[in-house]
Symmetry: C2
């Protein structure tokens, strides 16, 4: 089964937006075991769109279109696909009702061109749009499969997930068992090191399959299997997950697609543990990251960004002798990181206190090199752990890696503690 993704829109050819739809659909098709041979981007132009459709029909079995379903005269996808395949268009009643309701609810008059968004190709399955107005289409013709999806990712993704994907499983992959997948998430390890640890499993993979999955600054693998029932699939995935987990006990933090801060907030909520932070070089990034998680307020109570030395002294009681003077360790030091973590924990009165202080660059600080960062984790009735990091990259990378490293070390402490009996 060969697929081609055709994104339609002049805004893509002008570089006004990046084609994230192609990435999303490629990942989804890969997870269904369908090979994508080409991704094409074409503008809002009838003759070039025709060219792309004809070419796609020659070289692929399944064509997925995104974009060009909107209300304006520039939105051509349905018209051109219908014309090439000799089909007509009609107004889909449910889609039209949805559009009329939308304008009525907003008390805005509906302009006539919005009717175009309810157009459906004769004989196609309409794919309803839960988050927008333009209806999608799916149909087979001459042994080829055509799926038309809207361009905005917030409309395209739910339509694919809830409607196009089941349609593909039912009509395209008819003779195959459905695919079941699971995401395994890792922290504190790079992609190549992870692959090395799993090399023999990856090389001999047949069923379930193992695939790396791109996620910004996280290492993720997806394990997938075809099976006749969900329980049969889960059994196979469980076995492989246990095998992988056993090899990477210090890195494997979740078997679903969540960031490590979510796992941390969940563990700490369950154990009724609280957290505070003192940040210097990360300037708030650590707290910002933790508070992206809904419900983080139960765990994270507050913290201090002490960007200047005065603030480290005034708000976090770092002794002046530690920060300044000929033989002082300075703001970027293990000693200061330790005091920051312990003080913020005591001031905010939490079970854990985290601290980050370092040189994010671009300039040296205190004669210390860019990338030197100290992080500390203080805990009530426990010893404060301090870690010295030597990070590579520019200012934003160093800040991000510092944040990720604190989170990783905190997760590791929480996990270690779970397997001991002292809690």
């Amino acid at each position: 089964m060969k697929a081609e993704i055709i994104a339609v829109g002049t805004e893509l050819l002008l570089g006004q937006i990046v084609n994230t739809n192609a990435q999303y659909l490629s990942q989804e098709l890969a997870s269904l075991g369908i090979d994508v041979y080409f991704q094409t981007v074409v503008g809002d132009n009838t003759s070039r769109l025709k060219q792309a459709i004809q070419l796609g029909t020659e070289r692929a079995d399944l064509l997925l279109f995104t974009g060009g379903l909107g209300p304006t005269q520039d939105d051509l996808t349905k018209d051109v696909v219908a014309e090439i395949l000799g089909r007509s268009l009609h107004i889909d009643r449910m889609a039209m009702d949805n559009i009329e309701r939308f304008f009525k609810d907003r008390k805005v008059p509906m302009t006539e061109n919005n009717r175009r968004q309810a157009l459906s190709i004769d004989g196609a399955t309409p794919l309803s749009n839960e988050t927008g107005l333009a209806v999608g289409n799916a149909f087979a013709e001459g042994g080829k499969f055509y799926i038309l999806l809207p361009g905005p990712p917030n409309e395209m993704k739910p339509m694919f997930e809830q409607q196009a994907k089941p349609w593909i499983m039912q009509h395209v992959l008819t003779h195959e068992f459905p695919i079941y997948s699971r995401m395994l998430k890792f922290a504190g390890i790079g992609e190549s090191a992870l692959e090395t640890k799993l090399l023999d499993l990856i090389e001999k993979q047949t069923d379930p399959t193992i695939a790396p999955y791109a996620k910004e600054s996280e290492v993720t693998i997806r394990i997938s299997t075809k099976a006749e029932s969900e329980s049969a699939a889960m059994g196979k995935l469980d076995v492989l997950e246990l095998q992988i987990a056993a090899r990477l006990p210090e890195h494997f933090y979740a078997n679903e697609d969540v960031p490590i801060e979510k796992t941390i907030i969940d563990i700490m909520t369950e154990r009724s543990l609280t957290l505070s932070c003192a940040e210097s070089c990360t300037g708030g990034m650590l707290m910002q990251t933790l508070t992206t998680i809904p419900g983080s307020a139960a765990v994270f109570l507050g913290g201090i960004v002490c960007y200047s030395n005065e603030m480290k002294e005034k708000l976090l009681n770092v002794p002046h002798e530690l920060l300044e003077g000929e033989n002082a360790p300075g703001a970027v030091s293990a000693e200061t990181a330790k005091v920051l973590a312990e003080q913020v924990r005591m001031i905010v009165d939490t079970d854990f206190g985290l601290a980050v202080t370092g040189v994010a660059g671009p300039a040296y600080s205190e004669g210390k090199p860019v990338g030197l960062v100290y992080i500390a984790i203080s805990r009530r009735h426990g010893e404060t752990k301090v870690y010295e990091l030597h990070l590579k990259g520019n200012r934003s990378t160093i800040r991000l890696r510092s944040t990720k490293t604190v989170l990783y070390q905190l997760w590791k402490q929480l996990k270690l503690n779970e397997t001991r009996t002292d809690k």
Copy 2:
């Protein structure tokens, strides 16, 4: 002049990475006045790559390739392009020296396959790689132009900017004047409202041209002109910039591609003004954003994330009566925002104090709706301004918009102050 961008790499077809190269090159080509008619993505496969090259040669005048210049057997671009056009490959001496130096410096033995990265198509101009090892190529053949660039964006962008772009201006756009562009940046206004304000200018644009430019959560337009000299171009751009600026004095913050926090840090550094923040619902995002800017330490001294009510009382002296009780305004209120901004300004001892408190969701808080946010700006010897926002979107959008709004209002105060005489 019609161009096609061909990205080569199976990792793109698997969705492991997103094709940001196509966006970058499309923007760059648009700024040179070159139309991109197709973007194509093809895998590391000889026969399909051949297909893509032949098709591109038929339908475009200028073909830009990214990817497939690396050391492995999967990296096919140069081999296949050379084969199709009947040219041979040779080792480029300078590129080879660069590769040998790289391995010598790192005291790592060079594997033989790295020689492939020095391959150059006979008769092509080698494009040296300042940030990597694979050499690029540019040449003309049969009235068509071919440019081969590496895949990693951190290698591709500098090679395009410093070498491919001048090559295009010299060899492809021979009979045309070079293009000069300027980015104009706006805050506190949406893209469609901006376009409405400039509609007549956009509609009658000929020279300079006006184009919206996609940037995450910012509104940017690029004005461009062709001219025989830089000074002639600058004159024309200055006139249009003044016209646009006059229409949007409360929104136009920079005539270069910088975020508003950069402009704020610059203005405050110049005026020796300092800043502190108290954040509730944004959880550190405001401070994190300010400290992305190198040199922000001169302006931003520190701040407090007061996520819990206890912390608002303890660290920022918000009166208990304000936060709790039957008729208390609560944590999400104009009164609390005002106290937070004033207190953080006094505690950290800065010229300005910023505060954000609101309901980011997903759940209601204090019986107040998701999206209700109060921001406050306190200044030394000045009145505290409080703004009530009703924001739409999910948790992360609400946090982002709150942050952007505080920054915008701060910039507006700083700008207003500049035109008055009280400073």
